[in-house]
């Protein structure tokens, strides 16, 4: 059995009061519950404050480029499908720079768990609008207010028939719920997106911890996450009431299940050096 301390990593360089701490905490607790040892999983991250997370937990780590978490995670999973693979990204990273990769990761249904630290703003570059910033929000680089309508990640994912779509809220009170959702997402066979609403103490003075706390509620007992139309309807709720929980799930087969060369063993365990050159040359004669 692993313990919470087995996952102690570097000292976080995040702002005091940042929602990232709750996400890190919930993730470590999820790993304890799943009894997954540090070497048994890999976290891929990009750039932004969320991108630093894997340094603060013990695990195999690929801290790559801004927006490119999902292609790297896909490559790792295809090379070794016995490895649990998580991708961690912020709203700018995943919904902006890497938007194309998100669409196609959902289409593939690669068995990767994506955790999005969604604080509706760019933090590390200091306060510009992100793809999820509410319309009209004035920032230093959007002096007339953010003119584009915000991206709705839940509605996007459901429209693409993503096989696991969930939202949670990062705060001490929501921590057990967030932990359970992360566990469900990791256990899900297929692509899982968990959009995690969090505060940004430095650059988002409106969507604070208390703002979310007053609005976030859990989808009711008896809610049917296999009903795609209902899931889509609920994904459109935003404002006074913000639903959290597992919006939608289906049992589409994971991408790697359909790849013939991966049926017997992970790619990394297979033979690699071909011995018979003449056999390969024969068709050219």
């Amino acid at each position: 059995m692993t313990t919470f301390d087995d996952y102690s990593g570097q000292k976080p360089a995040w702002c005091q009061g940042c929602g990232n701490f709750a996400i890190l905490n919930a993730l470590k607790r999820a790993m304890v519950d799943l009894d997954m040892e540090p070497h048994q999983f890999t976290i891929v991250s990009g750039i932004g404050q969320a991108g630093k997370l894997p340094h603060y937990i013990k695990c195999n780590t690929f801290n790559g480029l801004h927006g490119r978490t999902l292609p790297v995670a896909t490559g790792i999973k295809l090379a070794n499908h016995d490895m649990a693979v998580l991708a961690v990204a912020g709203d700018g990273d995943c919904y902006g720079e890497g938007g194309n990769h998100l669409i196609h990761a959902i289409r593939r249904n690669i068995n990767v768990t994506l955790l999005v630290h969604n604080n509706l703003v760019y933090g590390l570059t200091r306060g510009q609008a992100s793809p999820t910033t509410p319309q009209g929000r004035i920032t230093k680089t959007q002096p007339f207010g953010s003119l584009s309508s915000p991206l709705n990640p839940m509605a996007l994912a459901i429209s693409l028939d993503c096989s696991f779509v969930a939202r949670a809220f990062a705060g001490a009170s929501g921590l057990p719920f967030l932990k359970e959702i992360i566990k469900e997402a990791i256990n899900h066979e297929g692509f899982a997106i968990v959009d995690i609403l969090q505060n940004c103490v430095s650059f988002n003075k409106i969507n604070t911890f208390h703002w979310y706390k007053e609005r976030a509620y859990q989808l009711e007992t008896g809610y049917d996450p296999t009903d795609r139309i209902e899931a889509f309807r609920r994904s459109l709720e935003w404002g006074e009431k913000i639903p959290t929980g597992i919006f939608y799930r289906n049992d589409r087969p994971a991408f790697e299940k359909g790849i013939t060369p991966l049926q017997d063993s992970p790619l990394v365990k297979q033979n690699y050096f071909l011995k018979d050159l003449q056999q390969e040359l024969a068709p050219f004669y």
Partner: protein
């Protein structure tokens, strides 16, 4: 004996099949063959041609002069008529092209032959192939067999009907147009392979243990993906078509990090998207092989044509400073062995390695006598299994004398593998202090590069060993330069200096090519406008070539036109 057959028509008329089948026929008949394709960036219509040169001796480039032109439309006759050689003839169907007068015209009614047999009109191609073989004094065999393998998916009946139509074309030509060409026999019982540059790169990857290939389709690189996808099931290769080139290189880096040999390929425009990933490979020290198959730019340029204009782009591609290796093979044989060497060096030194080709090399088929298994490098540089488990500590970026840290496979032991695109410490965690930064730059650059440089082969000298005139080139001009030297040596002390390993630039300790350059009149021949290789040579050695010959119309150098330019200069 040295014969050039050019087949021209519209896209969609089946030129690649006719050309492919005939090329293989000549190859199996014992001739040395060289083919090249010239096609427009469209699916139907326009004008394309497929050229097959075959000879009783080794050949390595295309010629400009045509001995037999098979015209499948009227445009072909108009466009290529002026390229006929002294013995040149044009084979055509008056119904397909309209009646054309002239003593060099050979009219054969392919359409009527097909109609008489009451078969599908598309089979006019088979009638034409049959006629070509008869005019050249060939037998219909082994064409019949080869054709079957090209269209095996269409079933035995369709194949048999096509062979019957070919026989009709063959009989008609032999009866009505006897004695047109008399080709001597190849006089060679030993059969050669026929392989193009893309296949050679794909095969090189396969033999090097490449298990993962991700790419976005982009001509002229797509043939590499086609080849590897055809081997995916048999040899356990994951071939994934990515949503864009950014994803393609990042997927390959993910797979490589996870422990398998990985590769991607693209052309210039796609490589533009990949450059941030190249830089990522540089700082994370993740092995990767990238094939960059050039076509003329800027931007979309001439998408289906050839150029050597990305040399500096690939050498400099990727922000920041880090070690990399660039190979520029000139033949499918070099492409095969250098792709193999690319995988070896990528993993040994944990750097990105590039195999740069172009449309001419990618799509040209050469006759090759075979490859040698004992020349294929198959060395594993990863730390795995028991060896990894017995380590007490593991640091992904541990300092070593050569700058090469142990490359462990994540998940194979309790040791964690931590890599970072930020500057990092030996454990792979983010740092910002100047001291560690300097250590890491030294490790990635100054410690590794001298060892890499020792493995870079000097250029190849072909021709006169003490030349008065020296042709300088890199990449796909190899074949035409070589044949130019063969021609010019009759009059002058001529040689070729060909570079296939260009970065880091070869040292002079194994072969002092710089003093050779200094003693000759040098002509640098490049398929680009600015003479990038001549500039690289000057940058690296200080040597300035006497004369440049550049071609940048999207077409490869043909032997006669290059000789013409050389004579003009001489």
């Amino acid at each position: 004996m040295d014969f050039t057959l050019r087949i021209g028509g519209k896209a969609g008329q089946g030129l690649p099949v006719i050309g492919g089948v005939l090329a293989k026929h000549f190859s199996r008949s014992g001739f040395h063959v060289f083919t090249h394709q010239d096609y427009m960036s469209r699916i139907r219509g326009g004008h394309n041609f497929y050229q097959i040169r075959f000879a009783d001796h080794k050949i390595s480039c295309s010629r400009d002069n045509i001995d037999l032109l098979l015209a499948l439309d009227a445009d072909t006759i108009n466009i290529h008529r002026h390229n006929l050689s002294d013995i040149g003839k044009i084979l055509y169907d008056p119904e397909m092209c309209g009646a054309v007068p002239g003593k060099e015209l050979i009219a054969i009614p392919f359409t009527d032959l097909v109609n008489e047999l009451d078969v599908n009109h598309i089979m006019v191609n088979s009638a034409a192939v049959g006629a070509v073989l008869a005019l050249l004094g060939q037998k219909l065999h082994p064409f019949d067999e080869i054709f079957g393998s090209f269209i095996s998916q269409k079933g035995a009946e369709v194949i048999a009907t096509n062979v019957m139509v070919a026989q009709a074309g063959f009989d008609y030509a032999r009866r009505e147009w006897p004695g047109q060409f008399s080709l001597s026999s190849p006089g060679n019982d030993k059969k050669n392979m026929l392989m193009n540059g893309n296949q050679a790169i794909g095969l090189g990857a396969l033999m090097s243990g490449c298990k993962f290939y991700s790419a976005y389709p982009m001509p002229p690189s797509t043939g590499i993906m086609d080849y590897l996808a055809s081997k995916a099931e048999e040899h356990g290769v994951v071939v994934e078509q990515a949503e864009d080139e950014i994803s393609a290189i990042n997927m390959a880096l993910g797979a490589s990090y996870a422990g398998v040999r990985a590769m991607t390929a693209t052309s210039g425009g796609g490589f533009a998207l990949m450059t941030e990933g190249v830089s990522l490979a540089g700082i994370t020290e993740t092995p990767i092989v990238v094939a960059e198959v050039q076509r003329p730019g800027p931007a979309t340029g001439l998408p289906s044509r050839t150029e050597q204009s990305d040399l500096f782009f690939v050498i400099h591609g990727g922000h920041g400073e880090f070690a990399k290796v660039v190979f520029t093979p000139g033949t499918p044989e070099q492409a095969f062995y250098l792709t193999n060497k690319a995988f070896q060096m990528a993993e040994k030194y944990q750097v990105p390695v590039f195999v740069q080709s172009d449309q001419y090399l990618a799509d040209s088929q050469w006759s090759l006598s075979g490859f040698k298994a004992d020349k294929v490098l198959q060395e594993d540089f990863r730390l795995r299994g028991q060896q990894l488990n017995t380590l007490e500590n593991y640091q992904r970026y541990a300092y070593t004398k050569k700058g090469i840290s142990p490359l462990a496979i994540p998940g194979e032991s309790r040791h964690l593998v931590v890599v970072d695109s930020d500057e990092h410490d030996q454990d792979g965690h983010i740092i910002e202090d100047g001291e560690t930064r300097n250590e890491m730059v030294a490790k990635r650059l100054f410690k590794k590069i001298p060892h890499i440089q020792e493995e870079i082969e000097p250029p190849q000298l072909y021709g006169d060993q003490k030349p008065d005139f020296l042709l300088v080139g890199f990449g796909s001009t190899y074949g035409v330069l070589k044949e130019a030297v063969d021609n010019l040596r009759e009059q002058w002390a001529f040689a070729m200096l060909h570079f296939s390993e260009v970065y880091p630039f070869p040292l002079t300790d194994k072969f002092d090519y710089v003093s050779l350059l200094n003693q000759a009149i040098t002509i640098c021949v490049e398929n680009n406008a600015t003479g990038q290789f001549a500039n690289l040579l000057r940058l690296e050695t200080g040597y300035r070539c006497n004369h440049l010959i550049n071609r940048y119309d999207g077409r490869p150098f043909g032997l006669e036109s290059l000789l013409g330019e050389l004579y003009d200069y001489l």
